[in-house]
């Protein structure tokens, strides 16, 4: 139920008084309500749940998380090499 999918905002507009947007989910385009993200702009990535954009996705935070795990992987392979030697 709390499934939320990341996508890219490609167009922002008003519809019946609501701040709405078009979102590209990597090929599939859908409409979502942008009412809770007043600062979102075209090009931002957002997480969408039941036609409602919940938050802007932070690319730098994503990179940081991945980097920490990559370092872990490198340490892991060094340990393995150590074990073999």
């Amino acid at each position: 139920m709390c499934l939320a999918v990341p996508g890219k905002i490609i167009e922002i507009y008003d519809s019946a008084g609501m701040r709405m947007c078009k979102i590209d989910f990597g090929g599939v385009t859908r409409e979502a309500c942008l009412q809770a993200l007043p600062d979102a702009k075209v090009g931002d990535f957002t997480i969408v749940h039941a036609g409602f954009a919940l938050n802007i996705l932070s690319e730098s935070e994503a990179l940081e998380t991945l980097e920490a795990l990559r370092e872990l992987g490198e340490i892991e392979s060094e340990i393995n090499i150590g074990d073999e030697g």
């Binding site: 139920m1 007043p38 997480i47 036609g51 990179l63 795990l69 992987g73």
Partner: protein
């Protein structure tokens, strides 16, 4: 420029998942029961086989974070009674269609000619109401904090459009009171929590340090990709092994401490905290959201008089114990036989977030709690 879709795909990178799993193996010295609260995470864990990659001593306990599963039977019977009325278009998320009420489900009402429509968003239900002024349109507004803003938005939108034929049947529940209920239960085995990432994207995690301190339990905000889950489990085990109990965020690309303030304001504008019954668990004080008085016109429970409702639960189904994390699906005598996805006895077999449905779909037919080591 980084291709963000490619970047996000990295959260399914098998090598990084393996590195994280190896680290969990390396640091685990004893048995830990960790609860993932969200049913979406339960499905992701089983789908990617993460439960089978973890050390035997790291046991994942599946939490009650499946709104379809915890919606009280009485409310489902009410939904069925409303949906059977003429001149009603009953709209719902697809998951609710097969959830068994006392005697039948929404699907059978649709088969009998009732106007039941599956919608992607409650805002679609508002559109249906605008297009069908001679019908009463009801949306079954179930969900956790993730779904509360869009459910609130649908009411505000219906009000702004002056619609008199739109109402919602509310079963909104909140995560923190459920965490308190789980941790204070005498049979509790949970030693760490993976907090539900999308609930936190709305609410933040400022409510959790109190829980973490009170019960001395690590709480790690966790996402839904395999790497997110491995990272969340790793951070939880690390805390447990070091004797720490704090709140950490393993889903920082989506979740901030304060969450989405405008979304929280939408919730507060339309809903207020109230006591709520959870199917299989019972009533938890102030664990739900109900419509504020000024939006009473949009409350389907008062708009439709469906008379007294007499509920009847399956006598075999152990969904309640599964939702509390005290038993696992294969321990149910009906699992995969009398109860299956075509003929579910309980909601946990229906939903795409229910633990029973996940165990059956991904072939975990043998593992029960009795087989897990306890210490």
């Amino acid at each position: 420029m980084t291709d963000t879709f490619a970047l996000l795909n990295q959260f399914r990178n098998a090598e990084l998942v393996k590195a994280g799993i190896a680290e969990i193996h390396r640091i685990t010295t004893r048995h830990w029961a960790i609860m993932e609260i969200c049913g979406g995470q339960t499905h992701a864990i089983l789908r990617y086989g993460l439960d089978e990659l973890l050390p035997e001593n790291v046991e994942l306990v599946h939490g009650p974070g499946c709104p379809v599963c915890v919606t009280p039977l009485e409310l489902i019977d009410k939904a069925l009674a409303i949906a059977s009325q003429p001149d009603v278009i009953f709209t719902t998320f697809g998951d609710m269609m097969r959830v068994p009420g006392s005697n039948r489900d929404l699907f059978s009402i649709k088969a009998e000619g009732g106007k039941v429509r599956v919608v992607y968003s409650p805002l679609d239900a508002v559109k249906i109401a605008a297009e069908n002024p001679d019908k009463q349109v009801v949306f079954f507004a179930i969900g956790f904090e993730t779904t509360a803003p869009v459910n609130a938005m649908s009411v505000l939108q219906a009000k702004a459009l002056g619609l008199k034929n739109f109402s919602i049947l509310v079963s909104q529940v909140c995560v923190p009171p459920a965490m308190h209920a789980i941790l204070s239960a005498p049979e509790n085995r949970v030693k760490g929590f993976l907090a539900a990432g999308h609930v936190c994207s709305v609410m933040g995690y400022w409510e959790y340090p109190d829980i973490s301190q009170k019960y001395h339990i690590p709480i790690v905000v966790t996402g839904f990709e395999p790497l997110d889950l491995v990272e969340g489990i790793l951070m939880t085990v690390r805390q447990l092994e070091e004797g720490r109990a704090v709140v950490e965020n393993a889903y920082s690309r989506v979740v901030s401490e304060n969450g989405n303030i405008p979304a929280q304001e939408l919730i507060k504008k339309v809903f207020e905290p109230c006591d709520r019954g959870w199917r299989g668990i019972g009533e938890i004080p102030m664990s739900g959201l109900g419509l504020r008085k000024e939006f009473a016109d949009f409350n389907a429970e008062t708009r439709f008089d469906v008379g007294a409702i007499k509920t009847r639960e399956s006598e075999i189904c152990i969904a309640g114990q599964i939702l509390r994390g005290t038993r696992k699906p294969p321990e149910c005598p009906a699992f995969g036989t009398l109860c299956n996805q075509d003929h579910p006895l309980g909601a946990t077999m229906v939903s795409s977030e229910g633990a029973c449905a996940a165990y059956l779909r991904y072939g975990r037919s043998r593992t029960g709690i009795s087989e897990n080591k306890t210490s």
